[in-house]
Symmetry: C2
Subunit: 401 residues, 2 copies
Amino acid sequence: MTATYAPLNPTPRILLGPGPSNVPPAVYRAMSAPLVGHLDPEFVALMEEVKQMLREVMLTKNATTFPVSGTGSAGMEFCCVNLIEPSDEVLICVNGVFGARMTDVAQRCGAQVATVQAPWGRIIEPEAVATALKEMKAPKLVGIVHAETSTGVRQPMEEIARIAHDHGALLLMDCVTSLGGCPVRVDDWQVDAAYSGTQKCLSCPPGLAPVTFGARALEKATKRRTKAQSWYLDLNLLAGYWGQDRVYHHTAPVTMNYALREALRLVLEEGLEKRWARHEQNHYALKAGLEAIGLKLASQEGHQLWQLNSVTIPAGVDDATVRRRLLQRYNIEIGGGLGEWKGKTWRVGLMGESSREENVMLFLAALGNILNDFGCRIDTGAALSAASAVYRQRGEKRCEA
Amino acid sequence: MTATYAPLNPTPRILLGPGPSNVPPAVYRAMSAPLVGHLDPEFVALMEEVKQMLREVMLTKNATTFPVSGTGSAGMEFCCVNLIEPSDEVLICVNGVFGARMTDVAQRCGAQVATVQAPWGRIIEPEAVATALKEMKAPKLVGIVHAETSTGVRQPMEEIARIAHDHGALLLMDCVTSLGGCPVRVDDWQVDAAYSGTQKCLSCPPGLAPVTFGARALEKATKRRTKAQSWYLDLNLLAGYWGQDRVYHHTAPVTMNYALREALRLVLEEGLEKRWARHEQNHYALKAGLEAIGLKLASQEGHQLWQLNSVTIPAGVDDATVRRRLLQRYNIEIGGGLGEWKGKTWRVGLMGESSREENVMLFLAALGNILNDFGCRIDTGAALSAASAVYRQRGEKRCEA
C-alpha cells in the first residue's frame, strides 16, 4: 500500500529568520554538478580548496580547518568531544540558548562545568570571566558564543581570549551566525578553536560545520589520555581523512561540499570587508525603520548583531499570528523568540544573500501592514523613509569594524 | 592575497565503487528547489513524507524512523550512543571493517564489548553468536552488519535476531549498503534498531543516515539512567524535533532532505521487488562475465551481495594502476580493498542508479582492455557474452529473495 507523493515544489521564500538564509543561484547550480566519489582525485583537490577558502574566510592560518560532516551543532560537539577530557574544568559563558547548549554538550563530555551568566540580550563582561576563572583550580577551556543567535548580541572576543590564556585555558568560540556577516578574526583574536555553520551568513544550505583548531587546541586533542567519546567526530581520525594521507573515515557529503565551495567562492569574490559593510548597512536601515514606528531591538545597545535582530514584540500583538501572516501573505520567514524570549521577540535575520535593501524594505512594508491589521496605527511610510535615509547617508562607507 | 578559484566543473563519472553511487537527474533537480526554513510548514510536511517513505523502504511500521543529519557512520553512532549505557555488555559481530568500526564506537560508549569474529568474506554463523551470548552475564545488545561493504558478504539476519532476543539482547543492524538493493525487512526480521546511508542503493548524495527504532529499542533509549553522551545524536531530543512537537534542536539539512525525498520516491516508484531483482540480475551478469575471464569473487559463495562485488585481483596485476586507468581512461570509479584485503581485491559496486546493464558491459570491456595491457590474455568478448547470456536467461524473472 504505497502512497503516492506529489512532485517536490517548495514555495520560494524570503528567508529572514535565524537561518537558513537564501541561497544564491550559483550555489544551487553547484549542487547539480555531477557527483564524484569522495576519494576521487577531483574531490581530493576540492577538499584542499575548501580548506583554503575556509582559512581565508575565518582569517586563520590554521592547517586544521575543514567542514565537519554535520550541521553547526555538530561543530560544537566536535570541538567539545576533542577538547574536553573527563573531569576537565571548563568555563562556559551563558547569555542565551547556545551558551546553554554548550554547557549541556560539555557536561556530556564529562567536564566539570562552571558558568558565567549574563542576562539575555547582554554581553558577557570580561571581568566576570576573570572572576570565574580565579575560582577554578585548573581551567582547561573557556567556551563562548560570538554571535548569540537567540538574542542578537555580538560578543567582544579579544579581551576574553587574553583572560582565558592568562589562566592557562583554551578559548573555544561559536561563530555559527557571525562568520561571513561581521568580522571574525580567529588568528588576531587568538581563538584556539572555533566552529561555524553554513546556512547563516555563508548562504549555503545547512549540512556542514566549518571548524578550525590552532596549535594549542590541536595539542590538547592529539595528546588526550582517552579516545574522544565520538568516533564520528574524532579529530585524530578526521585529520587523517582531511589531511594529506586521505585515510578513509566516513564518506564526506560530496554535494554539500560542492555547495560550500561555491558559497565560499562568492564570499571571497565579494570580499570580506565589503560583505561585512553590507550586513552593517542593512542592519542600521532595518533598525532605523523599526524605530521610526516605535519598535525596539531587545539586545544591548552598542553590541547588536548586524545579521540577527531581536525585535521586541509590541504589547497586544500576537507573535505567532504575525509570523504566520508574514509567511502566508508575503512568503517572508522570520524567527520567533527562544527560551526566555519566546513570545516576547521576533528574530529578523539579514544574513548573507538575505541581507539586501529590498528585503529590508519589503519586511518593513509587510510588518507595517500586518500590525495595522491588529489596530496599531503604524506609519509605514515613515519606517520606509527612515530606512531609506540610512542608505542615502551611509552610501559606500566601509564598515566600522 | 586571495587566490582565485576556477568554476566548479567535476568530470561525470560512472560510480562503480562502494558508494556513492550515481545520482538520478531528478534527485539533482530536487536539490535546486528553493530552500525553505527548517520550521516552515512546507518542510514540516516534507519531514512527515520522508519518515513515511523511509518506513516503506525499510519495511517497518516503526514510528521512530527518520534521517539523522550526518552520514551513515553518524547513523551507527546514533544507534550506539542511544542504545548503550556505560558498562553494558554488548556483542559485536566482526567480519570486516564495519563490524570493527562498530566495536570501536561501542567501546567509546563505555560498553563492555565482546566480539564474534569470522574470517573476512565469510558470514557470521548463528551458532557462534549463540555460543558467545551464553558466555555473557546480561548481554544488552548484539550489533551486526547486514551488508559488509568491505567484503561483499550478505549476512542472514533472522536467526541471529531470534538468538539475540532469546538472550534478552536487542538486535542492531547496519543496513548502510543493503537498503534499496536487496531485501531489508526490519519488522519481519524483528530488528530492534537499524541505520543506513543515502549514497549506496538509494542513490542520493551522501549526507544523511536513515535510522529506525522499534519499541524495545525506544524503551532502552528513553529510559536510560544517564543522558546519551552525544547531544547532537540524542534520540530524546531528536524525537522532539522529528516528532509532533517540532521542538527546535539543530537545523536539519533541508536540501539533503529534498534529495532524499526524491530518491525515496524513485525507489518506491520502481518498486522494492523490482529494484532488488534489478540488482540481483546485474550482479549475476557481472559475476558471469568475470568468471568467463578467470576472475573470482572473494566473498563466500551463496552469500554474495548483489550491490557490492569483491573481486580477487589476479597475480601480477597492480591494484592502484588498474583503478587509476579505469578512472582516467573510462571515468569509471571502483573501490580498492580495505584492511586485510587492501591490494588483494577490487570492490565493484552496482548500487541503485549505478546498477545497470550498460555499466556491467562497459566495466567488463574496460577491465579486459586494461588487463590485456598488463600482458594478461583476456578474451574480453567471452566476458561480454557470458554477461549478456545472464540477461537473456533471467529475463524478467523476479528476484529469489
